[in-house]
Each structure stands twice: as C-alpha cells, then as structure tokens.
Assembly symmetry: C2
Amino acid sequence: MTQAVIAIHGGAGTITRAAMDANREREYIAALEHVLLAGQRVLAEGGSALDAVTEAVRLLEDCPLFNAGKGAVLTHAGTYELDAAVMDGATLNAGAVACVKRLRNPVLAARAVLERSEHVLFAAEGAEAFAEAQGLELVTPDYYFTQARQEQWERARASAGMALLDHDAAALAAMAKKEEPIDPDRKFGTVGAVACDANGNLAAATSTGGVTNKQVGRVGDTPVVGAGCYADDVAAVSATGTGEMFIRTVAAHDVAAQIRYAGLSLEESARRVVMEKLPAIGGRGGLIAVDRDGNVTLPFNTEGMYRGVARVGEPVSVLIYG
Amino acid sequence: MTQAVIAIHGGAGTITRAAMDANREREYIAALEHVLLAGQRVLAEGGSALDAVTEAVRLLEDCPLFNAGKGAVLTHAGTYELDAAVMDGATLNAGAVACVKRLRNPVLAARAVLERSEHVLFAAEGAEAFAEAQGLELVTPDYYFTQARQEQWERARASAGMALLDHDAAALAAMAKKEEPIDPDRKFGTVGAVACDANGNLAAATSTGGVTNKQVGRVGDTPVVGAGCYADDVAAVSATGTGEMFIRTVAAHDVAAQIRYAGLSLEESARRVVMEKLPAIGGRGGLIAVDRDGNVTLPFNTEGMYRGVARVGEPVSVLIYG
C-alpha cells in the first residue's frame, strides 16, 4: 500500500508578499486547505486518485478566488469560455471539454466524457449538449461573474485589448517588444490536482477560464491531454501558465516521458520542463506532479504559485510564494 | 545539406486489394503522386519543411478522395466539422483549429494561427472568425459534399447511429461487445504530411473530417499537438486512426520522446507506438514520421494505409496495402 497523497494548484504568476494583503492571503490559504482536506478525505476513505482529483478540482471551480468555474476570467468579447480535462493513469482513460460556456463544473463534464463517451475531447456546443444529456448542471453566464475578474478584464482591454482584437502585424510587433502586454498576474490562472491513491494509481485533473481578454475560441493547454493534464503509470501532472508554450512543449507528457525513458526522478524531470524547456520558448508558469511512489513536486518559474499537498494521515501543507 | 524528403498519408483502415477496384486504385495512386510531386517541388526549390507539409496537406484537403476538406465525412447531425494542425520543428511553433465548419482549407487556418496569432489552438466559431479576419477562404457546407461520404454516413447511421446519439449506457454496453460498431473502413481517414528540408528542419501537418457519424463537437487527435501532429528537432510525426487512442497515448510526441530520451531509432520508436502501445488500448491506425537525417518510417497496424514518400531528386513512391 502506498501512502496516498493529493497535490493541488490554483494558478501561478506574479504573486508576491508585497502585493498581497493579509486578509486576501488568509482567504487563499483557507480555500486551498479546504480543497486539500476534501481530497485527502476521498483518499483516506479508500477512494481512487481519479475520484480525489475530480473532487478537488470541482471545489476549486466552485471557489470564486480561482480562475475556473465561478471566478473565471473573461474573453475579449466579455464572455466566459472554460476548458477542463481529467485523466486516469491506471487505464490511460481521459476526458476533456473545451470552450464550454454553460457548464457549472467543466471537470464533471470531462469526467463524464471519460466514463460515458467513446470520445475523449468535445468542444463548444457539442460538449455542452453531451454534458446536458448526462444530467450535469447548466448555468447562465452570470454564474461565473465576479467583480474582481470584471475589473481585470476592463484593465486588460484598456491596455492591450484592441491590439489583440485585430491580430494585426504592427500591433503584434509592438507587443512583442514588451515582455508582457498584460500584467502577468492577471494572465495565469488555472486550477488542478494530481493524486496517488493507496493502490499506487495516479490521476490528474485541470480546469481553467483561460487567459484574461483571450480571443474567442482560443483553447489553451488545459484540455489538451499531454500538455496541461496527463497521467500514466509513472506520473500524473497538472500545469498552469502560458498555455501555448505548454502545448508546444507537450509539457505534462514530457515530465512522464523523461522519467520513463531517461530514468530521471520526478523532481528532476519536472524541473527540466519548468526551469529549462518552457523558459527556452518564453513559457511561464508551473506544474504539480506525483509519481507512483507518492513523491510530489511543485516547481514554477514565476514569483508564486497557489499550491498545496496533503498526505493521508498528515497535516495539509499550503504555500503561495517562491 | 540533408537530402530533403516529404512523406504523406491519406488515412489508414481496412484497405485491401480485394475490396479495391482497379479504377479506384489508379485514382488514389494518381492523387497521392500528384501531392508528393508538389511537396517535392517545394523542397527542391529550397522551400522549408513547413511550407512543404502545408502545401501537401492543402492539396489533400482539396482532393475529394480523402477525409479532409472536400470529401470530409459527416457528423451524426449530418454536418461537417474539420480539424487541422501544423507544427514547425525548428521553432516548436504550432497552430491548430478544431471543429471548423466553414473553412475551405483548415490547414491554412492552422498555418495562419502558427504565424499570426499569439495562440496555438482555436475552436469552432472563434477559429472561423480568426481565419476570416486573416482573409482565408470560407465555404458553405455543400462544398465538402461528396456522394461517397453521404452514403457512408447513411450506412453508419443505419447500423449504429441511434445508439451514438443518446450515449445511453445500455447502448454503449451493447456496442462494447462488438469490436467495431461501424465498419472500420469508414472510420479512419485523416491526411497528413511530414518533411525534412535541406537544412535538416522538420515539420508536420495533419487535417481531418474526423470519424463518420461522430458526435457533434467531438475532437480527435488531429488538432492536438503531441497526439496527431508533432514536430521538434528529432522527429516530425503525423498520425491517422482511432484518434482517441492517439490522444491517450500522446502518440506523436511519444515517437519523438523515445528517440530523444531512450535513444531509439525513428523506425523502432514509431514501431513501438503503432504496434505495441496503441494496440494495448485498442488503438488502430498508423503514422508517418521523419527524422533530421531524412529517415522515413510509415508503420500502421491496419490492413492498409494510403501513403507515399518523395526524396528530392528521386522518383516518388506510393503504397496502399500492407
């Protein structure tokens, strides 16, 4: 029997002590602890890694502090488009939804795809139709609304919005000169969980509202199996950051591949992806990963990442800064 | 200078000499040769691998014999939903579109995403809006129509359609007992190209109409970087087959990862993915791959795969059967 463990993240970015007030910090810590305790409980009761990560991400989606489900960021058009994925390392079964606008819990739709569809990935209205047929809860866009995300969006539009709208070459060139057209703090949010259960089975789940002011239809790494979410019998990985670079490096699968083929440890494999491969193409963010021995690593190349670990039978651990 | 080479595929499945009449066979061979000659010309004139694979897949999309662009299969709803991706191994730049319904050439939209967007993947209407803003050609659904695909769809609906519509547990259980609810011949179509140019740079492109009678919104491996399309500086890969299994095994990236980390040859790496890893989870199909030395491999675990190779300065080679 392995000592079961769950790790979670709530996004990475320029999260610094200086920019965080004490009340806000307490809110985040309490929210992360609440989610970890729930995931830990699933594992303690003999639940599977797959059940633990699904439950943790469902709770993170329901928490307005994080950019997934309630509290999701807005697209350039002022709409919400959510992505989620879940993968079971024991079977390589996976489910994902992209660009959904009416689902309360995209991760539950991803789980339903995993369990009850011959397909793995559904996009847009087709994903919603599938979820609705499965009896999952639909919401109207006001469900996702939070004042904080609305204000972020308005600031993002004011600073870079029109340039992003037109994708014109001059504007993109102008943006390229600045490292970050939008405050990175507003850009990186995504939630995720990885777990190893008592049987040594692994699972990962990831969910996001994407990046503030993103183009309508943009899909990041979250629902892309192998990029923002991946689990097999050597590692389970959930990522957060500049999704495009995680797609291009197939980041989550690369963590597992380096362990399987190059014999790296979980920690060293994840470090190379986050500290070397992603920065080489301008990728910022982090990931959480667990292996079948219950080792956990949570590297990030940003100032901070909301994160935590809970081993069954031990106190939970929550961290924010680097 | 490397001897530049391009390889293409037009889908894999139960393609047997017995089921193929002589005229049909000649049509396929002529079409594949035409595409290979065009790709070879791009490379011979000093064009990049990226340009060669884009042009080859554009031509395959325009050819009604193959399941991409004109000649795409129909969804359960009788609509067309196309996916495409392209990746430049030299830079890890990638572009992809999923679930598009109005683009004549999805691969050109993917290429535009690669070149002119900060994003990598666009889905549905957002992808079409992006492509339209880039001046790409829009079509109405009748453009994609071919009598052959319409008839396939009608047969598929008659044999399994209602079951797939409802995704109800009983119907899925009944289907699970049969290995193939729909004739596999009708299920596997996708086109793709991989190339190594004179500078040793690699690229891959893949495009598809998906699987006949698929659920609306289903996205297969084609636009998923790492699954149906991938290129880096060790290998470029384009896949075709039961897309869900290619997503779950992150098949295209796994070919490159085994070369990079385990030191396998291109041929052996691709063989393990197609002949061992995919069959282990019920995956059927094949892939084409090229490495930076210009080695090419085209393995498949089905009866046949439309495929061909063209090295600059040599006659083109086209094959259909196993």
